[in-house]
C-alpha cells in the first residue's frame, strides 16, 4: 500500500506534467507545416557565437521532419520540461511530511525506512518513464496527420535515453529531500545543478562532447544510430548511488 500512497502523493504533479508534455508534443507536430513554409526565410538569419551556431543548426535540421522532431522535441522541449518534472517529483517525501507531522504516521507502519524510500523512488521513476515515453509516442501517432512519419522505435529509444540519462536529477532531488525538510530547496538546487550543467555543456562541447544533456537527448543515436550504452550505464549507476545515499541519510534521521 506504500505504492498507493506514493501514487496519491504525486499524481497531480505527474498528471500536470503529462498533460503539458502531451499538449506540447501535439503542438510541435501540427506546427511543422508552418515551419516548413518559413524555411526559405531562415537562410537570411545571421547569427554569431554558440547560440547562433545552435540556431543555424536547428534550422538546418528542421529542413526535414525527422531532424525537426529531434532538434525541437528531444533536444529542447521534452528534455527541458522533463528535467523540471524530474526535480519536482523527486522533491518531498518523509522529511517534508515531518514538518507537517504526517511522517510519524508513516513511520508507525511496520515498514523499514529503506522500503519507504525504495517504493517512493520506484513510483517516481515509473512516472518519469511514462513522462519520457508517452508524449514521445504521440509523435509517430500524429505525424501522418501532417503528411509525415516518425519511427516508433526512434521515439522509444530517445525516450529511454532521456529517462536513463536524466534519472540522476530525480535521484539528486530525492537525496536532497532527505537533507532539507522543505520541498523547495531540493527542487531549486536540483534545477540549479541541471542549468549549470546544461550551460557548461553548451560552451565546452568542442572540447568535451559527452555531456549528460547530449546523452539525454540521444544525439549519438540520432546522428550515428548507436545507442550510447556506456554513458547510460554511468548515469544509471550515478542515479543508483544517489538513491543509496538517500537511503543511508534517511536511516540516520531522527524524527
Amino acid at each position: 500500500m506504500l505504492w498507493y500512497k506514493a501514487w496519491l502523493e504525486t499524481r497531480w504533479r505527474f498528471a500536470i506534467g503529462l498533460a503539458i508534455l502531451m499538449v506540447s508534443a501535439c503542438g510541435l507536430v501540427f506546427a511543422y507545416p508552418q515551419v516548413a513554409r518559413l524555411m526559405p526565410l531562415a537562410s537570411t538569419i545571421e547569427a554569431r557565437g554558440e547560440i547562433g551556431r545552435r540556431v543555424q543548426e536547428a534550422v538546418q535540421l528542421s529542413r526535414e521532419y525527422h531532424g525537426y522532431i529531434w532538434s525541437q522535441w528531444f533536444r529542447q522541449n521534452l528534455i527541458q520540461m522533463w528535467t523540471v518534472f524530474a526535480a519536482l517529483l523527486g522533491a518531498g517525501g518523509l522529511l517534508s511530511q515531518a514538518s507537517g507531522g504526517a511522517a510519524l504516521y508513516t513511520l508507525s507502519m511496520p515498514a523499514s525506512r529503506a522500503r519507504l524510500l525504495v517504493v517512493r523512488a520506484a513510483a517516481g521513476l515509473g512516472e518519469l518513464l511514462v513522462l519520457a515515453i508517452a508524449p514521445s509516442l504521440l509523435i509517430p501517432l500524429l505525424s501522418p496527420a501532417v503528411g509525415d512519419s516518425y519511427s516508433v522505435v526512434d521515439a522509444i529509444v530517445h525516450g529511454a535515453c532521456l529517462f536513463l540519462g536524466g534519472a540522476v536529477f530525480y535521484a539528486l532531488a530525492v537525496l536532497l529531500s532527505t537533507i532539507f525538510a522543505d520541498i523547495w530547496r531540493p527542487l531549486l538546487i536540483s534545477l540549479a545543478v541541471a542549468v549549470v550543467m546544461a550551460l557548461g555543456e553548451m560552451f565546452v562541447r568542442d572540447v568535451w562532447p559527452h555531456g549528460i544533456f547530449s546523452l539525454m537527448n540521444g544525439e549519438a543515436y540520432f546522428r550515428t544510430r548507436h545507442v550510447p550504452w556506456a554513458g547510460l550505464i554511468v548515469t544509471t549507476a550515478a542515479a543508483a548511488a544517489l538513491l543509496y545515499g538517500a537511503a543511508v541519510s534517511l536511516a540516520q534521521r531522527d524524527f
Partner: protein
C-alpha cells in the same frame, strides 16, 4: 514470558545537539496495564515514545518492546507490526479520505479488525468520503484512534491522545479506549499532562521530569502511601530534616511545616511529634498533588 514487561527501558538517553531530552530513564510497563506516562511539556515523553517506535535513535541505554530492541531496524518493524500508535499532533495524510487511509493502513496489519473498523466508523461518525484535511481536530483524533485500535495490536502507544480536545470529545475518546482495553486486554502506554484523565483510566503511572522518571508505581499504591502531614506550631516552624524514608518534600511557611511522604505517615509521626507542634494533621493526597510535589521537588 507471559509475565515479562511489554516495555522495558533502562538508562535510556537522548541528546539533541546541546539538549538532553531524556537522561537515564528507567521504566517497566507490565503486560495488560494501562500505563500513564505523566510529565510537564518538554519533560521527554514524546522523545521516549519516538525511541520506542524507532522514530528516533537513543544516545545511550536501552529500550525493549516485546523483548525486542527498539533501536534495531528489523526488530523495530516487528514492534510496529504489533503496536497501535497515535501521535501527539494527530497529523494524517491531508490528501487522503477516510476510506483511503483505512485502505492504506489495513494491509500492513495481518490482524486488522474489520468488525472494530465498522463499529468505530459508526461510533465516531466517520464517513468514508470525508477528506482528512476537512476534519476538525476532534474528528482527526477519532480517526487516528480508529486507525490505531483496529490494528489488532497487543500494545497501544498514545502520545497525548486527548490534547486539544473539548471535554465531550475527550470523554468519548477515553470511553472508547477503556472499552477497547477491557474487551481486548491490550496494554496501553499513554503520555499526558492531563492528570484527571490519567487518574480516570490508568492503573499504573510514571512521572517523568527533565528526562528522568521521578516516580513510578501502581496508582492505588501511590494513593495509599502518599500522605501530607501538616504540623502547626505556636512559634515559627523549626528548620528540620526527617530521617524516615520516603519523605518527598518538606515545606516551611510561617508556623506551618508540611511534609509530603511516599511511605505512609506512620514512619515520620514520632519524629514530627518530637518537634512539639500544637497540632498534627495527616491527609491523603491526590494524583495532582503527587505530581506537583514530585515535579516541584526536582526544581
Amino acid at each position: 514470558m507471559a509475565d515479562a514487561p511489554v516495555i522495558e527501558i533502562a538508562g535510556l538517553q537522548k541528546r539533541y545537539a546541546s539538549v538532553d531530552a531524556v537522561r537515564g530513564l528507567d521504566l517497566q510497563v507490565p503486560r495488560g496495564s494501562i500505563f500513564g506516562f505523566l510529565g510537564r511539556n518538554g519533560a521527554g515523553k514524546t522523545t521516549t515514545i519516538k525511541m520506542l517506535l524507532g522514530m528516533a535513535r537513543p544516545s545511550g541505554g536501552s529500550a525493549r518492546v516485546f523483548g525486542l530492541a527498539a533501536d534495531a531496524p528489523h526488530a523495530s518493524v516487528e514492534i510496529r507490526r504489533r503496536t497501535g500508535f497515535v501521535s501527539e499532533d494527530k497529523e494524517l495524510y491531508d490528501f487522503m479520505t477516510v476510506d483511503d487511509l483505512v485502505r492504506f493502513t489495513a494491509p500492513f496489519f495481518p490482524r486488522w479488525r474489520r468488525d472494530l473498523e465498522e463499529r468505530y466508523r459508526r461510533t465516531f461518525e466517520l464517513r468514508g468520503d470525508m477528506k482528512v484535511k476537512t476534519l476538525s481536530r476532534g474528528m482527526r483524533t477519532k480517526l487516528a484512534l480508529l486507525l490505531a485500535l483496529c490494528r489488532g495490536a497487543e500494545l497501544l502507544v498514545l502520545d497525548e491522545p486527548t490534547a486539544g480536545l473539548d471535554p465531550a470529545v475527550t470523554e468519548e475518546v477515553l470511553q472508547a479506549l477503556v472499552g477497547h482495553v477491557a474487551r481486548d486486554e491490550t496494554t496501553v502506554f499513554f503520555s499526558s499532562h492531563q492528570i484527571a484523565e490519567v487518574e480516570q483510566i490508568a492503573d499504573r503511572i510514571a512521572i517523568i521530569d527533565r528526562g528522568r522518571a521521578v516516580l513510578t508505581g501502581a496508582l492505588d499504591d501511590l494513593r495509599d502511601n502518599f500522605r501530607r502531614v501538616q504540623l502547626v506550631f505556636d512559634r515559627e516552624a523549626p528548620q528540620t530534616t526527617f530521617r524516615a524514608a520516603g519523605v518527598a518534600r518538606v515545606r516551611r511557611q510561617g508556623r506551618v511545616l508540611t511534609v509530603v511522604t511516599s511511605g505512609g505517615a506512620e514512619p515520620i509521626l514520632d519524629e514530627a511529634r518530637a518537634l512539639g507542634p500544637v497540632s498534627v494533621d495527616v491527609a491523603p493526597v491526590t494524583l495532582k498533588d503527587i505530581f506537583l510535589e514530585t515535579v516541584a521537588t526536582e526544581d
